[in-house]
């Protein structure tokens, strides 16, 4: 098993949370100090040069997003950290916050300075009460030490940071829903444009980034862009990534690995191979919305562009592995049920289309389906994909589409046999 440079997890110890003294001792808040000596625009430029891409799922280049932000517009501006993390198979942000929460605090202080946003919110899902408490503690320490609040490190820059605990629902991970949620409105997504950078929280310019994205920023400021780019195994990429392993693996843990590592290495070395000596059949490479990878893809680099080349996505890098005995219809059914249940109910394709797909997958799985149902499944996918209001339904189509593309024969087997071929 290769040992890779640990950045985000360098201080991590099982069942412990790093507090301020230790964080500072290990180089913490050096990034903030460095940033405060630069112009805000220079910080943006640095992050842009580093090649950091968003870790929340969409992989949008962070520096470019920041450069669109109207930092010099007067009045309130907000920085929101997206810690909703409700996509099945994704648990990396929790690991990061439990282990070393100051990284996020520091990252947000830097980002707020770069964007000249005075107020920040960390949006945390309901189930992450443990993270909530660790984060509040870290914020308290940081305020005490002058890293947050008024006149940060004597720079004259103020930034206040709040933590908001949510009350469930995956859609709040979508950034515009999250803004509605923070405002205390019904968390349906908003139409874009206007983008949050123009009209976000309370109608003011707002930047939304993922926990891991923001936590990475201090390290870039401390160590520079070249160092960051060299972390990745893929020369076209930059940095490390938290991979949360789950499913039929021997070791289902969260690892910090370089971008560009192969799926094989993730599964076999870090995941310890498939449980009970079974064979690998397929996996979700990055959460419930990412199209399946199969044995054909074991040597693909786990990175943004290479995965898109094989019609999948890196997503959140939550790798869920399925063994050879798994019925892919049943897997898809479970995933689709999640999306149907978590639909916000705003647009028709998602609200009623996903439940139609659920019904079709039920029929297939339980052997009631005919070829007409298969045809109907196909036309449903075609008309939901790219037609919904936000990306939730789009994501939901990832696995269904992959099922049709990679495992159509399993569907046909179900239809022919009038039941599930994998049922024991």
């Amino acid at each position: 098993m290769n040992a890779y440079t640990q950045v985000l997890f360098k201080n991590r110890r099982p069942n412990e949370t790093v507090l301020l003294p230790e964080y500072e001792k290990n180089g913490g808040y050096q990034g903030l100090r460095a940033a405060m000596k630069m112009q805000p625009a220079e910080v943006c430029e640095l992050v842009k040069d580093s090649g950091l891409r968003g870790r929340g799922g969409a992989g949008f280049p962070t520096g470019i997003k920041w450069s669109f932000f109207p930092a010099d517009q007067p009045g309130d501006k907000y920085l929101v950290c997206n810690g909703d993390e409700m996509e099945p198979g994704t648990y990396k942000d929790r690991q990061l916050l439990l282990a070393d929460p100051h990284q996020l605090v520091e990252g947000m202080a830097i980002a707020s300075y770069a964007l000249q946003a005075q107020i920040g919110y960390v949006f945390l899902r309901y189930a992450y009460e443990d993270c909530f408490q660790r984060l509040e503690q870290a914020i308290e320490e940081a305020v005490e030490a002058g890293y947050l609040g008024e006149n940060i490190l004597g720079s004259g820059f103020d930034f206040e940071l709040h933590v908001h605990g949510s009350a469930g629902r995956y859609i709040l991970g979508e950034e515009t829903s999250q803004l509605n949620g923070l405002e205390g409105r019904r968390p349906n997504p908003r139409s874009k444009p206007p983008f949050p950078a123009q009209r976000g929280l309370f109608g003011r310019p707002t930047n939304v980034n993922n926990v891991e994205t923001l936590a990475t920023v201090p390290h870039i400021l401390t160590h520079g862009t070249t160092w960051f780019q060299d972390l990745a195994l893929n020369p076209e990429s930059a940095g490390t990534k938290l991979f949360g392993l789950s499913g039929h693996l021997n070791r289902t843990e969260c690892y910090e690995l370089p971008l560009g590592i192969t799926l094989r290495e993730v599964v076999e070395d870090f995941g310890g191979g498939v449980r009970e000596g079974k064979k690998f059949k397929a996996c979700l490479p990055g959460g419930a919305s990412t199209p399946y990878l199969t044995t054909d893809h074991l040597d693909v680099m786990m990175d943004f562009n290479p995965l898109e080349e094989v019609e999948s996505r890196l997503g959140t890098a939550g790798v869920t592995v399925f063994n050879e005995d798994t019925c892919m219809v049943a897997v898809t059914r479970n995933l689709n049920q999640f999306f149907a249940r978590e639909s916000c109910g705003w647009c028709t394709p998602c609200r009623d289309g996903l439940s139609t797909i659920s019904w079709l997958l039920d029929r297939i799985e339980f052997g009631q389906a005919t070829n007409d149902d298969l045809a109907m499944l196909k036309d449903q996918v075609k008309n939901i994909k790219g037609r919904s209001f936000c990306a939730l339904a789009e994501g939901a189509m990832g696995p269904v589409e992959a099922l049709l593309r990679l495992f159509e024969h399993e569907i046909i087997d179900h239809i022919k046999q009038g039941g599930c071929p994998f049922a024991c």
């Binding site: 629902r169 859609i171 019904r186 139409s191 149907a340 249940r341 978590e342 639909s343 916000c344 109910g345 705003w346 647009c347 028709t348 394709p349 609200r351 009623d352 289309g353 439940s355 139609t356 019904w359 039920d362 007409d372 109907m376 036309d379 449903q380 075609k382 008309n383 790219g386 037609r387 919904s388 209001f389």
Partner: protein
């Protein structure tokens, strides 16, 4: 290839063509360009190979409609805007600045766009959206009240979805009781969010919302109970399917059997477009018509549920002569001869003519002609002196300053002086709300609390000081005001300086002639080359303005009463008016009118004049006739009949099947249009078109009358009226030390005469109440909701105490209390009163 069918689409003529698999709706609607947008960019785009140029900001769905191509849609509504949630209005953007399949409602038209509505992918998506929307639908069209005007049915056909493939379990919901107006049937919901957007966003209601998520979205109130908004009925029109239907209309008629036509609401002076529907000889419902200049797409609950006066069981339907039933012809002849006889015996001025704001403009003109033919100068169009003077002053003064509801919606500063829109013209409140939603500000100067569906600043001042404020504002001299009043007025002056499209609103009841005079003068004084200050005044009825134009230099009704008292006026002709109740001082009117030799009444309701008339002629209700009204901005608008009058079958059958007897004539069908009766009496043309032409010839100032049709937005008359004679003194009320001052006000929704006669509204009328400031209540040792006894010189009645912090401290306010000893108090008047705690027995 083309097959034309006619469909009724929410009251609009709808034509659709079936072209291969594609179905496109054609609807005769146009995007109008508001005057201040004329100078804007006009992008040109190509839709289905046809070029169209539209004002900047128009979305592609509307642009297509310009070409008569109607893309199926649910969530988009012109008044509610685009939200893009239903995903039905898909079009393919083939070339230009936007590419690919898009929701047409969410894309603004831009130069060079090439768009297709017939693209296979777009059509396939539309079909699927309908399929999804229908997954949980109960398919209960045969028992659904929406059937026949269901947009979901139409879109299902238009979208090409015919066979349901989904056979799984359906979601079901529990319905709520939403009160007397709206019936809910949640299972039919397709989740288009139009009801909440109408109720909350557009109408400003606060008690209706959307709950739950995913495919378990439900709409309703927090708890069961009557919807509180005075615009609640609009969600019935807004709902594209049968979730929200009219409760009073429930199960009465299948919609394809309902007779409908374009009409104008008879309840206030705003002239909102309505579409009444009738069957079985009764008016059964009213829904909003579309007039972009006036009401837009909505109406108030008073207009919607106030149709039932036409079906009132006590409505007089028989002509009478000296208490005996006679034919209409005999009564008409008698009226003509007896009036002529009195005029020739006692001189022409011994006959007085009293028109009304309720009459058609045509009948009002004919009344004028009758008075002229008789030689009488005793012609009045409004029994209430203050309202009469207000209308006549407005008609004499209003010029460029006049504003429509649409212009009000675009205003950036609205100031109300003695105007309570929810009482006097509810849709004006909705227009003000839209102004606020567009960024405008509102200030209210009024002794009443004046609730509005938007935020407003409020300065309570007694009615007699409103003119003072107006004059001070016009002259920009606020020295006469106390410091606390002055601070608000000063900020008003500042706002008035910078406002681009300010509008001053007044109400006839509180302002009277003097106040309207001051309102118009202030608007003129505040206007400049750069911007004109607008004026809107709420008058008493749908044709107040028309009557005012015809009043000339005539007397007001108080002086007619003097003449009756003195014996110089011996005959009175009442055209749809009731001086016994409507005069400023009904007690005095009742005493004076007892001296009359002859009382002639034309009416469609059982009021006191109709009951006491020597000669009575039944007239038709507004929805039973064609005619026109002139609204409070001088807009002349036509309306058409929906049904012919007759005793409702429901009544003749007393709940069972009507009797199996056969008659030559329909029972109760004698009532005729007011103008038809008068034309007959005057030997004039009996055909409306010819009548209108002849009116135009005789009265050139009403040019345009013969050209209006009920489908158009109407024409604004340029004719001016004459100022009324110099103002008379105030109604005597001795403000003695121990007496309280009582002010009559118009209550909400059901409080006006026609509304009061309509059972759906009457059911919501509150118990008699008085309104006072909590401090005054405390002084009188009265508590909210407590019962009290209210005494005036009319008599006494029992009332409930209500308090409101926002109102003027020194007044007690009482809404018109029909069917009590105090029913004669007309809004606006001040009286002495006593208010005592009810002794518990």
């Amino acid at each position: 290839m083309f097959q034309f069918l006619r469909l009724e689409y929410k009251g609009l003529p709808y034509r659709w063509t079936q072209h291969d698999k594609r179905i496109v709706f054609y609807v005769f609607l146009r995007v109008s360009v508001p005057p201040w947008r004329i100078d804007l960019k006009m992008p040109k785009l190509t839709i289905d190979n046809l070029e169209v140029t539209v004002p900047d900001g128009t979305n592609v769905l509307e642009a297509a409609r310009e070409l008569d191509i109607v893309i199926p849609h649910f969530c988009y509504h012109e008044a509610l805007g685009s939200v893009g949630s239903c995903r039905l209005c898909a079009m393919m953007f083939v070339d230009g600045p936007v590419k690919g399949l898009q929701m047409a409602c969410m894309v603004q038209a831009q130069d060079g766009m090439v768009v297709s509505s017939t693209d296979p992918d777009a059509m396939e998506l539309r079909e699927h959206v309908i399929e999804w929307a229908m997954t949980n639908h109960p398919h209960d069209c045969p028992v659904c009240d929406e059937g026949g005007e269901c947009q979901l049915q139409e879109m299902t056909v238009a979208g090409g979805h015919g066979v349901r493939r989904y056979r799984g379990k359906k979601c079901t919901f529990t319905n709520q009781d939403l009160g007397p107006f709206v019936q809910q049937e949640m299972n039919r919901c397709i989740t288009c969010y139009r009801c909440v957007r109408t109720y909350r966003d557009y109408c400003g209601g606060t008690d209706y919302g959307v709950f739950g998520s995913r495919n378990r979205i439900q709409y309703g109130r927090f708890q069961d109970g009557a919807l509180e908004s005075p615009f609640s009925g609009n969600i019935i029109d807004a709902c594209p399917t049968g979730v929200l239907t009219s409760k009073p209309f429930r199960f009465k008629t299948r919609l394809w059997d309902l007779q409908e036509g374009p009409s104008i609401c008879p309840h206030c002076s705003l002239g909102c477009a309505t579409i009444p529907g009738g069957r079985y000889r009764e008016i059964q419902r009213v829904k909003a018509g579309i007039n972009r200049e006036t009401n837009g797409f909505f109406i108030c609950d008073r207009g919607r549920f106030g149709y039932d006066h036409a079906n009132h069981p006590e409505r007089p339907r028989q002509a009478r002569l000296d208490g005996q039933p006679v034919t209409v012809d005999a009564a008409l002849l008698a009226a003509r001869e007896q009036v002529a006889a009195i005029a020739s015996k006692h001189g022409p001025d011994s006959v007085a003519f009293l028109g009304s704001p309720r009459s058609s403009f045509e009948a009002s003109v004919l009344l004028h002609d009758w008075a002229k033919a008789t030689g009488s100068l005793q012609l009045v169009y409004e029994a209430h002196q203050g309202r009469d003077r207000a209308a006549r002053t407005l008609a004499a003064r209003l010029g460029k300053q006049v504003r429509s509801q649409e212009e009000l919606r675009q205003s950036d500063l609205v100031i109300l002086f003695g105007a309570d829109p929810l009482a006097e013209g509810p849709m004006l409140a909705l227009a003000i709300r839209q102004a606020v939603r567009n960024g405008g500000k509102v200030v209210v100067i009024d002794p009443r609390p004046v609730a509005l569906p938007c935020v407003a600043k409020h300065l309570p001042l007694p009615p007699e000081r409103l003119s003072e404020v107006l004059m001070a504002l016009g002259k920009n001299d606020l020295n006469a005001f106390e410091a606390d009043e002055r601070s608000l007025l000063e900020s008003l002056v500042e706002q008035l300086k910078v406002a681009q499209r300010p509008v001053l609103i007044g109400g006839a009841d509180l302002l009277g002639g003097q106040g309207v005079q001051a309102l118009c003068s202030a608007a003129e004084q505040l206007s400049s080359e750069q911007r004109s200050v607008g004026v809107i005044t709420m008058l008493a009825g749908p044709n107040s303005y028309g009557g005012a134009l015809l009043s000339g230099h005539g007397p007001d009704f108080d002086s007619v009463l003097d003449a009756v008292q003195e014996g110089t006026v011996r005959a009175l002709v009442c055209l749809e008016s009731d001086p016994f109740r409507e005069a400023r001082d009904p007690a005095r009117a009742q005493a004076a009118l007892g001296h009359l030799e002859l009382l002639v009444s034309f009416d469609s309701t059982a009021n006191l004049a109709a009951q006491r008339a020597d000669i009575f002629l039944p007239t038709r209700a507004n929805a039973e006739m064609a005619g026109s009204y002139v609204n409070n901005e001088g807009r002349l608008q036509a309306f058409l009949p929906v049904i012919d009058p007759g005793v409702p079958i429901r009544e003749t059958g007393a709940g069972n099947h009507p009797p199996r007897e056969f008659f030559q004539t329909t029972p109760g069908s004698a009532p005729e249009a007011d103008w038809l009766l008068l034309a007959g009496l005057l030997d004039r043309k009996l055909n409306l078109v010819e009548l209108r032409e002849s009116i135009e010839r005789d009265h050139p100032q009403f040019a345009g009358l013969s050209s209006i049709t009920a489908e158009t937005t109407g024409v604004r008359l340029t004719a001016r009226g004459d100022l009324p004679p110099a103002e008379e003194q105030e109604l005597p009320h001795a403000a003695t030390a121990e007496a309280l001052t009582l002010m009559a006000i118009t209550g909400q929704v059901g409080s006006r005469w026609l509304a009061h006669l309509s059972s759906p509204l009457a059911a919501t009328e509150p118990q008699p109440y008085v309104l006072l400031h909590p401090e005054l209540a405390a002084e009188l040792n009265l508590a909210t909701d407590e019962r009290a006894r209210l005494t005036t010189h009319f008599g006494h009645c029992h009332v409930i105490i209500r308090t409101d912090e926002k109102m003027l401290k020194g007044l007690v306010m009482v809404p018109q209390l029909w069917d009590t000893a105090l029913e004669g108090m007309v809004p606006g008047g001040l009286l002495d009163c006593r208010l005592e705690k009810e002794v518990q027995r």
